[in-house]
Symmetry: C2
Subunit: 240 residues, 2 copies
């Protein structure tokens, strides 16, 4: 495993989707990397966990932490964690473009919960960087994917951790946040990110549905990048 | 239940200790209040959960959410969650005053995890205020009990929530943060906070040990306030 100059350890939050997979490949290229996965009652949690371990195996990431968070299933309020709210099909989405409003797949303040957990782990294993594959553009419009959120979160870490108060630092890095989705595919191809092991679909856990927001964003990204998506989908091919 | 002028709903993070109990009494006096408790593998978690429900019963708080967080037990690194690290006795504490350094009872970035969970719940039940009984002075010196941490966290909420992005707001309130511990006792007495139902001890769950940081801070506070602490302790009375 290559090491970066300052020999800092990183944690990557790895859901198992395409963005976090590319983020993990980036982190692993930079130096010593540990990976964290949080199951929070999302519909596809078992499938995502399998992707997490598969991606770690392929990238040579040995230090792993998989944690269950029961909060989101208990509070509901999102189509991803509440079986009474349907995952919208993009074709039935009243013609609104993806990202124009905050959709029902928004899991309230999810990324703050994930990052807080990652920072806690970073304090105990002396990691100084946390990678998260948040994407602002070409995304679903989630408020916890915006740069301002991550800037504020880094202030919070600096003020509220032992490392921050003793002169060390833990910093959240969002290397993909300003990238177009097709650029992420291109970067992943260059890094040989194991896209074949990833899982992006919000609703199915055997063959990806191809029509939820997450599938549609992914398929359009591969199409625009001129690359072939290595995972199969139910139903028809999509249009650019 | 009285209602505040603007009819806002609050959530109080209620561990079951004396500070959070007073905080809950304050919140309940202000208006509609829901209470949240998080068990995170701390030594006294079952005892604290009992206090949580007892305090809610006494204060008339009906809407409650008790959640288990398995992160801290998995990562260790704190005397509260790791059985291989002893809870220090203040009398054996090398003469260092409490709060002069970050002690081994610090649970890494705990309050960020608790607050993130509370914000997620606030988004789903449309609460706009989150009370937390953090105390800076007379405390153990935890970095996530400082005003700067809460200021940064409020920025994070504003940037990263649906409420924040749609013009609503969720705000964390820390009404006790600048108070001396004895002042919290006095305030609690005035509010008739049910101190008899609280649990502060870090290590025992039947009769409070009286000699951990948390017990010592509590006992000195009652002594300084000229009040009698309604719970029993193992061993001798303490000196002012």
């Amino acid at each position: 495993m290559p090491e970066n100059q300052d020999n800092e350890k990183s944690i990557v939050l790895l859901s198992g989707g395409m963005d976090s997979c590319v983020c993990a490949a980036l982190a692993a290229r930079e130096g010593e990397t540990a990976a964290m996965h949080i199951s929070y009652g999302q519909r596809t949690e078992a499938r995502e966990l399998r992707s997490f371990h598969g991606i770690c195996d392929r990238l040579g990431i040995e230090q792993r932490l998989a944690v269950r968070n029961e909060l989101f299933a208990k509070i509901g309020g999102s189509a991803l964690t509440d079986q009474t709210i349907s995952v919208p099909l993009v074709s039935n989405n009243s013609g609104k473009p993806i990202g124009a409003h905050i959709p029902v797949t928004y899991v309230p303040f999810r990324n703050a919960n994930l990052l807080s957990a990652a920072v806690s782990w970073a304090e105990t294993i002396s990691a100084s960087r946390i990678y998260i594959g948040a994407v602002e553009q070409d995304s679903s419009g989630y408020p916890d994917c915006r740069p301002a959120f991550y800037e504020a979160f880094n202030q919070t870490i600096s003020a509220g951790t032992k490392a921050g108060s003793e002169g060390g630092a833990i910093t959240v890095l969002t290397p993909l946040i300003a990238m177009k989705k097709y650029e992420i595919v291109t970067l992943g191809m260059k890094l040989r990110a194991p896209f074949d092991l990833t899982w992006s679909c919000y609703s199915a856990d055997d063959i990806a549905c191809g029509v939820c927001e997450s599938c549609v964003l992914r398929r359009k990204a591969f199409l625009a990048a001129g690359s072939s998506d290595p995972i199969p989908y139910t139903g028809e091919a999509i249009q650019a």
